[in-house]
Symmetry: C2
Subunit: 177 residues, 2 copies
């Protein structure tokens, strides 16, 4: 079977980490890349990735390098990061010489749900307005195909296995170059 790179995207607070960390357990040999962790490797002199293109480029180059190495060693890879369609396409393009699949899922919920979920987080992790702004940024992004969107507010927490199945088995999420 072909190795697969899963890009689990969506606004902050939508459940990317929980989904990714459950997904990564589904395979025999698999790795989990947290884009947030990668973004914190630069300590001094780094910009904010959502404001500074050079910082964002470095993050994506680092994610690409790790993904390439992991594929070389036979791992499926789950990437957990706020990823826009152009970034998913860039990554898929960089990997296209390999006989692998790239899956791009943008987790989304309605406005009410994202605000509620943000309030349930420990205060120091609450995103406030930024969750909602990011949600709208994804929804308004004309380059994001409906095929890659996965609305999860109709699922309850104990239905996570169904979301995982959907991500693994529904071919509509495949990036086609």
């Amino acid at each position: 079977m072909k190795n697969t790179v899963y890009i689990i995207s969506g606004p902050a607070g939508v459940g990317k980490s929980t989904t990714s960390q459950t997904l990564v357990q589904e395979f025999e040999k698999s790795a989990y890349i947290s884009g947030d962790d990668i973004s914190h490797i630069p300590v001094k002199g780094r910009g904010l990735p959502w404001l500074d293109q050079e910082s964002l480029d470095l993050i994506w180059n680092n994610i690409l390098s790790l993904t390439s190495n992991l594929l070389d060693y036979g791992f499926d890879v789950v990437i957990d990061y706020v990823t826009f369609p152009s970034e998913a396409a860039w990554l898929a393009e960089k990997l296209k010489h390999r006989d692998i699949k790239v899956v791009y899922v943008v987790l989304l919920v309605d406005d009410e749900t994202i605000v509620q979920r943000d309030r349930l987080r420990p205060e120091e992790h609450q995103m406030g307005e930024r969750s909602l702004i990011l949600l709208h940024e994804f929804e308004r992004d004309g380059s994001l195909s409906d095929l890659n969107k996965l609305y999860t507010h109709h699922y309850s927490v104990d239905q996570l296995p169904e979301i995982i199945k959907e991500i693994i088995h529904n071919e509509k999420y495949l990036v086609r170059l």
Copy 2:
């Protein structure tokens, strides 16, 4: 000034993380790579790095890729990991086409100190015997030059700035190929 890659090594419990995280603050544009964090990117199907050569190779390839990208973007890099002389030499060799410096410091203490420090850690982070075994492994390693050893048990905690100065300014720690 040339960019520098600092490899901060030594057995578990010797103060690598504290030293590295203080060191990384000394530069204008610098990054911190935790080898332990990198070793946890593979989730399923990974071996223990101290038992499994393939797992260890992947970790070092990942550290090399991140370091190369960071150097491309003008960062000094601090690598915090249990690194043996052959691994430091491998990394320096892979980076030798670049106009940079590689510094390799193996932090060491006496037996008594490492046992004491291990006991001061939260129980779930205590290494027990393994700290001492690793310490002896470094001390017995014939390929480890005395030049790269930095014994720290004569320093008190508030002398960390002196250790940092020593690492930055004493050229004896430079890897020469």
